[in-house]
Amino acid sequence: MLDHTPKEIKERKAVVINPAKTCQPLGATYAALGIHRCLPHSHGSQGCQMYFRGHLNRHFREPAEASTSSFTEGASVFGGMANLKTAINNVFHIYDPDMIAIHTTCLSETIGDDLPTIIRSSEKPEGKYIIHANTPSYVGSHILGFANMTAAAIRYLSAKTGAPNGKILLVPGFVNPGDMREIKRIMKAMGVDYTMLPDTTGVMDAPLTGNYHIFPDGGTRIEDIIDAGNCLATVALGQFASGAAARELENRCGVAPHIMDTPMSIDVMDDFLMLLSRLTGREIPAELEEERGQIIDIMADLHQHYFGKRVALFGDPDIMIGLTGFLLELGMIPAFVLTGSPSNDFEKRVNALLAKAGVAGRAKAAGDLFALHQWIKNEPVDLLIGNTYGKYIARAEDIPFVRVGFPIMDRGVHSYQPVVGYRGLMRLLELMGNALLERQERDAKDEDIELIM
């Protein structure tokens, strides 16, 4: 019933049908929520911020508070300066954040509001901070918005005082708090001192105590962002969401950037640990060695369930690259790897991974789910991996479907669970394996149902 996608592929250059991305300001909002006592502020129409909050609410099932300049017709003719100055004043007065993180929108960018000038001329209470990022919705995607806001925090705040703190600045990328918790656990196991930026643990996975607070306990501390200038190195996970922050800290404070893929495969996870070890001189602890051995043990136990299966995957570029690596390690075929985010590098990166493994597959940046669905209709796959919107394709084509990415609005608990690190790989294996085996059992005749699989 939901299948309106024709099999025959006709060229499209102008219309996007069923997008696999959203706009920059959402990513900027999510990044800003990962700073302690920071209120994200959208400089645009009030509907924008309502949409970001709604999307974040539905994915995380958590409050996501953020304010807006509430543009009117007047503001869009005469500029949004008056609205923003009023907003800044009201936000500090009523919500009392330690910081306001302002992002622009397509509207305020097109009008040409000069944010630095407006911010300089605004009244800011003593000891409070205002930062901003330019996030025009007609450039990039929500991933670029996340990257821009993370870099903006460093640009505004980080300083080198000449007193090295021995810490790693860890930029986790546009991932769930469940992933951030896992990365933090790994850092702790390694004995590495770090600052994570942004850090939505304790914010977008805050506990229910009946004690709601607009600013939950989590989030990167502002003093830690300032002190990031004294870090030993930056480790940025995911070039698209985290690379900008690493480069910004290098430019401002000369902190060495190490930009790598999201650790969603054995190889990349190994690289991550060895990098941490090399940077800090810490040895990889037995605890993590054991986990690595366990995941390899599981892969050996179950490899036959995965090998040779054709997979279509879509989502954010860093997650897609990470996942492609893992699927190849499992002997699976990433037949279609699609992101909605525009990028020159994405297709090159995925194609290089495919070529190295000697596997034929197709990578696409700036794609949409209408295109992905057409490819699948023409060349069927065994498994689909992506966000909630994949359910239409999965249903139309009757393909097992594993939810990974953002947004996932039709299932719970996912945002608490990792897909990164060896533990995250275990979870991915379980999700994929169960999806494939449940399908096999669903389609099996009674006599073919086996107790042990």
């Binding site: 019933m1 309106h4 024709p6 006709k10 499209r12 102008a14 219309v15 996007v16 049908i17 069923n18 997008p19 991305k21 959203t22 706009c23 300001p25 645009g44 129409s45 009030q46 509907g47 924008c48 911020q49 309502m50 949409y51 709604g54 609410n57 958590e62 409050p63 304010s67 807006t68 300049s69 509430s70 543009f71 009117t72 869009s76 609205n83 009023t86 907003a87 004043n89 009201n90 936000v91 009523i94 919500y95 009392d96 929108t105 397509c106 509207l107 097109t110 009008i111 025009p136 007609y138 450039v139 805050a206 229910l208 105590t209 009946g210 004690n211 709601y212 607070h213 607009i214 239409y392």
Partner: protein, 458 residues
């Protein structure tokens, strides 16, 4: 333990400008409330924008392409977000956007829009008969002449292509309702239509299949439905709407302009109805019957009411016993819904103590005040901080609201029921009343709340 003492917001933290938007009903006569104003910059408003208003009204038209002309966000955030059910096409559940990029913003987006419409026509067989083109913020600033593009493409493809100039900043959500109504009028056209006995249902978006149930009631009474506006609507049937003899209007906020104009242009009078709660359903059905001839129709309506009440009444009574005496907060978007909800909760023996809407009018708030209990707080353009403050103060046993209130209410340990769009079954009508009271029962009696307001260390 009971609710925590610490509050981030006390009265002095409410902005001066916001105080006049909040009213406490007392036993004497209450004062007025400030409303129908722009949101104050810097507040965390639950309000949406013009595009949102236009889109929600037109979205349920099942065989239409809803093409969002602008950068991608607005199309992504509104992709199949509302549970409007369809008995026909599901084309409307796909998301279409011109995904404007920087160069389009610099050089204008008209060419891309024209090409997008051509591509849509080329993709689908049969050709979609109706395309709505929504202009979002940027398009209003760069000045694309979307009307000209739409006219040209209508002529070229022989389909309806209707522009909706819904840039977010040109007003608030109700402005979007009006633009959607104007777009519907354009679809209906001006040509004189032969009248046939029957009604249009206005302002029912078929969430969870509600409009089908209401159509079933009307059929039993002997009333034909000409067009559904816009729940489970099709282009074909919408165009027949002018031939109806009566408009029955559910969500009056979104349909005000359409019902006025249909009366003026087509001579179709409007009757405001509500299918929420025993009193309102009965009144509405009887009024419809009276307006369409009375006599036997009214008898049939009363017979239907009697039969439904006999069936539903005992089930409601059983659950009511478990709810009676509880208090509730009701924070929803439209005043129509808030009013209906207050009346329904009172039928269930639940006392609404906190009522908020995003866009109520002075008239709406007067009605809300009359219907609400003494001491209730009534808030216009509610913000999360105000909700938090008054939830702490009033400690409602239940919260009825939308998605953004859901997370907030749950964080404060208050059982929550969604009465907006993140729901899957009917909540209006007799059948819906059972669903609704069951949901109130499930959420308020779930064991989870036993732990929700406690910590291990306390």
């Amino acid at each position: 333990m009971e609710g925590p003492a610490e509050s981030l917001f006390d009265v002095r933290d409410i902005l001066e400008e916001r105080k006049s938007h909040i009213m406490i009903k007392d036993s004497g006569c209450g004062g007025g409330i400030r409303c129908e104003k722009e949101t104050i910059a810097g507040s965390i408003s639950q309000r949406a924008c013009v595009y949102c208003g236009a889109r929600v009204v037109l979205n349920p038209i099942t065989d239409a392409v809803h093409l969002v002309h602008g950068p991608i966000g607005c199309a992504s955030y509104t992709w199949d977000l509302r549970g409007s059910l369809t008995s026909g096409s599901s084309l409307f559940r796909n998301s279409f956007s011109t995904d404007l990029r920087e160069k389009d913003v610099i050089f204008g987006g008209e060419k891309k829009l024209a090409a997008a419409i051509d591509e849509i026509v080329a993709q689908y067989t049969p050709t979609p008969r109706l395309v709505f083109v929504y202009a979002t913020c940027v398009v209003g600033v760069i000045g694309d002449d979307i009307e000209a593009v739409c006219r040209k493409k209508e002529a070229q493809h022989g389909i309806r292509v209707i522009p909706v100039k819904s840039s977010g900043f040109v007003g608030a959500k109700p402005m979007g309702y009006k633009l959607a109504c104007a777009a519907l009028l354009e679809l209906m056209g001006d040509a004189p239509r032969e009248k046939r006995p029957g009604v249009n249902i206005l302002g029912d978006y078929n969430h969870g299949g509600e409009i089908w149930i209401i159509e079933g009631y009307l059929r039993k009474i002997g009333v034909e439905v000409v067009a559904r506006v816009t729940g489970d609507a099709s282009c074909e049937r919408l165009m027949q709407a002018p031939s109806a003899t009566l408009n029955i209007v559910e969500c009056s906020g979104s349909m005000a302009y359409l019902s006025q104009q249909m009366e003026k242009r087509f001579g179709i009078p409007a009757l405001k109805v509500r299918f929420i709660g025993f009193n309102d359903i009965k009144t509405s059905l009887v009024q419809i019957a009276e307006r369409l001839g009375g006599g036997a129709l009214v008898e049939k309506a009363l017979a239907l009411v009697a039969a439904e009440e006999a069936h539903v009444g005992p089930i409601i009574a059983e659950y009511r016993a478990r709810l009676v005496g509880k208090t509730a907060a009701v924070c929803v978007g439209g005043a129509y819904k808030a009013i209906a909800m207050i009346r329904l909760l009172k039928e269930f023996g639940v006392r609404p103590v906190l009522i908020g809407t995003q866009h109520g009018s002075a008239e709406d708030y007067a009605i809300i005040r009359d219907f609400s209990v003494d001491g209730a707080v009534i808030i216009n353009d509610t913000s999360p901080s105000e909700i938090e403050k008054y939830v702490r103060e009033y400690k409602p046993d239940l919260f009825v609201g939308n998605v953004k209130e859901r997370t907030l209410a749950l964080k404060m340990g208050v059982p929550f029921v969604d009465f907006n769009h993140d729901r899957k079954y009917p909540l209006t009508t007799y059948e819906g009343m059972i669903n609704f009271i069951k949901e109130l029962d499930v959420t308020s009696n779930s064991p989870v709340w036993k732990w929700a307001r406690t910590e291990l260390t306390e």
